[in-house]
């Protein structure tokens, strides 16, 4: 392999210097001339009929410019299953339901006006547990579906059912079988930058929406669909991202507040900004999808997995967003983490009067991996096999095709398991049950795009100007993951420029070509591949110009030298050496002759050539620009949910050592090793940043974080009661980067955005079991649950 100049180096994030000087402009900071502030009036009940809304007092408040209720705007359905309206007219189904909205000259006045709106409700019986909601006599959350047809059940009409092989045959071949019930709960994405947008119409009714979407082209499409329904057929939409203060899944769907801002802006003909408070962030933003799993798994005498049978129930909440599609990702670990021949998985999403759910880093993978990996340890114990050994026996390998038809290309899972095992001193530490214990869990995740839409493409445009500046328009978005640096490294390497020469623009539907979104850990892989292809074209153009211009430049140079020094002896140059673009290359912005790299006459800055090509005279002038659209050679899942939806897959193993205080139930993490097959680390420091960050959220998922809901109401909508880890909670995370050089990845790279989070919680659960002999299969693993389990264990042993 050749020596890279920039790929593989920990280049600092110099492009983002605005973030350390306070100059980066987030949605929170952005103002538009004449801008108004929007606020939302939410429901006071989890389930109720709206009898009457009185907005008269709110309208009279000085400074108020518009008050809207469901009756003031078109009754149009939005959302993934078109099961809600922007402002609710007849019924509320959750506490976050939007019943009215105000635009005013300040956020304070807008809020005051909201408080002055009087809503009369008739409370309806609610249902807050998906199992209750499935019962025949349960109150119906929705009486009719999107088309107005009556519905008879709270179970969503989604077909999450996966089957491969033969479960019965698997069971029959098993020497050991275990069954577990595993629960995961709501957690909040906790982006430090709160949600918000500014909607602004021009006089032609074209909309510019400043928002934080990470799927800007889908966002545009949803808004265009909405426009078509509300009569704005000729309006155009432009989405612009300001600097984004974290995303973690929250920016995948077009949220209701965006439609509200649009309606308020239409009504007032002024730009309208809606910015969430932290409390709204907890109460009115869709959190991670909770799930309950029944998992049954077996193995033969030698420990080979024989089958995996999983049934899941998901509390969908009152409406449907991406949370309801998390089973499509749950299928991945359930069918394909470790080799398992016979698999069945079925998931039911059920409407309740709880908050509805969305995506969060890892999508459904952390939930399902928790189930699979806790069950793996249980099975290991049942079979009397070391849990690490059981994982190695069933380890995925390069060349496998899984029951979901995922084609495993590069695979570093074995190395990850072995690496973590060694670092933890596994054999010595495991099985003591004396308050300290070790545990591990692994993961599989898409790492080469994810064809969840028909296009998984990414468009990139690159231009190089006569100053040697490289401007890159990516159709993707940047939410802090480091793409401005990583893509600059890839482009610099491929073009022969320096990272500093390259300026990336993200997040603007008017400037970028289509991109499926910065989700599914796909950006480095897909945008990187698009970049390589665009660079190839751009480089070709530069070298074609160089073939024409270098001889001219050389002649000028010689002429100049002769003028200065009449004795100057003209060098004997063989121009046939640079007669074709293939004869030339670029390194460090310098074009040179491959066969005679040191020849100073054949070496020139790219900018010289481009200047020469531009300033040539009538009709001759040329510039350098190219685009590339990369859509990976992957498959959509078919009707059976099978297909190779990603070019490659990420693997990893987290191993932890914990200490459990039997008196307090507290779990302390003594060591955490996170081994990840990253393909190739384009920027090791930035990759570690992803692993640390995801690992911390994973520990929070495992130990502390939970949105507490009581009859649909979020009871801990603040950072005092919702326990995010702080700098004081030191978790000794050690990233272990395993490189497998993925053949389809840009310079060998795979995606790494989400994986670090996925196996953390089950690794902790398994370590807690190893330490004190109790399995907490219900996240988070709080001290109360540990104490309770220890008590039950003692009583059982009596």
């Amino acid at each position: 392999m050749s020596e890279y100049l920039y790929v593989g180096k920990s280049i600092p994030r110099t492009a983002e210097v605005d973030k350390v000087t306070g100059r980066a402009i987030y949605i929170n900071d952005l103002k538009r001339p004449g801008m108004l502030y929007g606020k939302i009036k939410y429901s006071e009940y989890a389930h109720a009929r709206i009898k009457h809304i009185d907005t008269s007092k709110a309208k009279k408040l000085p400074g108020v410019r518009a008050v809207l209720t469901g009756c003031d705007i078109p009754d149009v359905r939005v959302g993934f299953l078109k099961d809600q309206t922007v402002l609710k007219r007849d019924k509320v189904r959750q506490f976050r339901d939007e019943v009215a909205a105000v635009a005013a000259i300040s956020p304070e006045i807008a809020q005051e006006a909201c408080d002055l709106i009087e809503v009369e409700y008739e409370e309806l019986p609610g249902v807050f547990d998906p199992f209750e909601a499935m019962k025949e006599d349960a109150p119906l959350i929705h009486e009719v579906d999107a088309r107005g047809r009556p519905v008879s059940s709270n179970i969503l009409p989604l077909p999450w059912r996966f089957s491969a092989g033969d479960i019965e045959a698997g069971r029959a071949a098993s020497a050991h079988v275990v069954t577990d019930t595993v629960r995961t709960t709501w957690v909040n994405q906790c982006c430090m930058g709160t949600s918000g947008c500014i909607a602004e119409f021009d006089m032609n009714n074209n909309l510019t929406l400043y928002n934080q979407a990470n799927v800007i082209f889908w966002d545009k499409r949803r808004i265009m669909e909405y426009f078509a329904q509300i009569g704005l057929k000729n309006s155009k939409v432009r989405i612009i991202n300001p600097v984004v203060g974290g995303s973690f899944g929250t920016k995948l769907d077009t949220d209701i507040y965006e439609f509200i801002a649009i309606q308020l802006a239409l009504k007032t003909r002024r730009p309208v900004k809606i910015l969430f408070t932290r409390e709204e962030e907890f109460r009115a933003l869709p959190p991670r999808q909770p799930a309950v799993f029944e998992i049954e798994q077996g193995c033969d005498k030698e420990g080979h997995l024989t089958f995996r049978n999983v049934k899941a129930v998901l509390d969908n909440g009152a409406y449907t967003s991406w949370g309801a599609t998390t089973p499509s990702v749950m299928m991945m670990p359930i069918s394909s983490l470790y080799r398992v021949p016979n698999v069945f998985f079925e998931a039911k999403c059920v409407y309740t009067n709880n908050i509805y759910c969305q995506a969060m880093r890892g999508y459904g993978n952390p939930q399902a991996t928790f189930a699979v990996e806790v069950s793996m340890d249980h099975l290991a114990e049942e079979a009397g096999i070391d849990p690490a050994e059981l994982r190695l026996i069933n380890c995925n390998h390069s060349g496998d095709e899984t029951p979901m038809r995922l084609k495993i290309t590069s695979c570093g899972l074995e190395e990850c398991i072995r690496g973590v095992k060694e670092k933890l001193d596994w054999d010595k530490k495991r099985g003591k049950h004396k308050g300290r214990g070790v545990g591990m869990a692994s993961l599989i995740h898409v790492a080469g795009g994810a064809r969840v839409y028909k296009s998984d493409g990414h468009g990139m445009m690159i231009k190089v100007d006569e100053h040697g500046h490289v401007d890159v328009m990516s159709g993707g978005t940047d939410q802090g993951q480091g793409s401005p640096t990583v893509l600059a490294q890839i482009i610099a390497e491929a073009l022969g420029f320096r990272p500093d020469d390259i300026t990336l623009t993200f997040g603007d539907t008017a400037l970028g070509l289509w991109d499926a979104g910065t989700h599914a850990s796909r950006h480095t892989f897909i945008a990187g591949n698009a970049a390589l292809r665009a660079c190839e074209k751009v480089k070709r153009q530069i070298l074609e110009l160089a073939v024409e211009e270098i001889p001219k430049l050389v002649k000028h140079q010689i002429k100049r030298k002769k003028r200065k020094d009449p004795d100057f002896k003209e060098p004997d140059l063989d121009f046939s050496l640079i007669a074709n673009p293939e004869d030339l290359d670029i390194k460090d912005r310098i074009i040179f002759c491959k066969k005679d790299p040191e020849n100073p006459y054949f070496r020139t800055e790219v900018s010289n050539v481009l200047r020469e090509a531009l300033h040539v005279g009538t009709g001759q002038s040329r510039v350098v620009a190219a685009e590339a659209f990369y859509d990976p050679p992957t498959e959509m899942l078919d009707r059976e949910f099978k297909g190779n939806l990603s070019c490659t897959y990420a693997f990893g193993t987290t191993g932890v050592e914990v200490e459990v205080d039997k008196k307090t139930g507290e779990v302390k993490i003594l060591q955490l090793y996170a081994a990840h097959d990253v393909g190739k680390a384009i920027n090791p420091t930035l990759i570690k940043g992803q692993i640390y960050g995801a690992g911390y959220i994973g520990v929070g998922y495992g130990l502390t974080e939970e949105m507490k809901l009581e009859k649909g109401k979020v009871m801990n909508p603040n950072f005092l009661d919702y326990k995010m880890l702080t700098a004081k909670d030191k978790i000794p995370v050690t990233p272990m980067i395993i490189e497998t050089d993925e053949k389809d990845g840009p310079f060998g790279a795979k995606g790494i955005g989400e994986p670090g989070l996925v196996p953390t919680a089950p690794a902790i659960a398994n370590a807690v079991y190893d330490a004190v002999g109790v399995w907490i299969k219900d996240l988070p693993i709080t001290p109360e649950k540990v104490l309770q389990a220890l008590k039950e264990k003692r009583e059982k042993e009596k």
Partner: protein, 160 residues
């Protein structure tokens, strides 16, 4: 609307603000002075995104009544770099060591770290973690932030 007049030193300059008495210092900085470096992550003193340094102490400016700043000296992230644009070692270290991801917590982190280093130029890791405990970050897991502060300490030591 009733307003009060408050005079104080802001990033080295003597300034006067005329704002409603109910305003917090954060609101005054962001709205009156248009310094949007300090962020509002919660508005109730629980996240540290709004941290500024007042007379040497790191303070959550979102819950700091503006009247109380009278006569005091306030440093925000905008005042951290030199007047000639030279970055403070903390800023450099955060960039070089990936102490920044989305950047929303960053100005608060920097100001908490600045207050710490002014008082204690060679803090231990524990001291750094304690002084950053009120600054939440969702992106980094704090590791590279703590390392950035340590790196800044080293840079400052080498310089002096």
């Amino acid at each position: 609307m009733e307003k009060i007049t408050v005079s104080f030193i802001l990033n080295g300059d003597e300034v006067t603000a005329e704002v409603p008495p109910s305003w917090s210092l954060l609101k005054t900085l962001r709205e009156y002075f248009e310094l949007t470096g300090p962020k509002e992550g919660c508005g109730v003193g629980e996240c540290g995104a709004c941290t500024v340094v007042i007379d040497g102490k790191a303070v959550n400016s979102c819950i700091y009544p503006v009247a109380e700043v009278e006569g005091k000296s306030v440093l925000t992230v905008e005042g951290l770099a030199g007047t000639d644009g030279t970055l403070h070692p903390l800023q450099r270290a955060f960039i070089e060591n990936n102490g920044v991801q989305c950047g929303f917590c960053t100005s608060g982190m920097l100001m908490s770290a600045k207050a710490l280093l002014d008082e204690n130029p060679e803090p231990t890791e524990d001291e750094i973690r304690t002084s950053l405990a009120g600054n939440l970050c969702r992106c980094t897991g704090y590791v590279q932030i703590v390392e950035s502060v340590q790196k800044a300490v080293k840079m400052m030591k080498e310089k002096s």
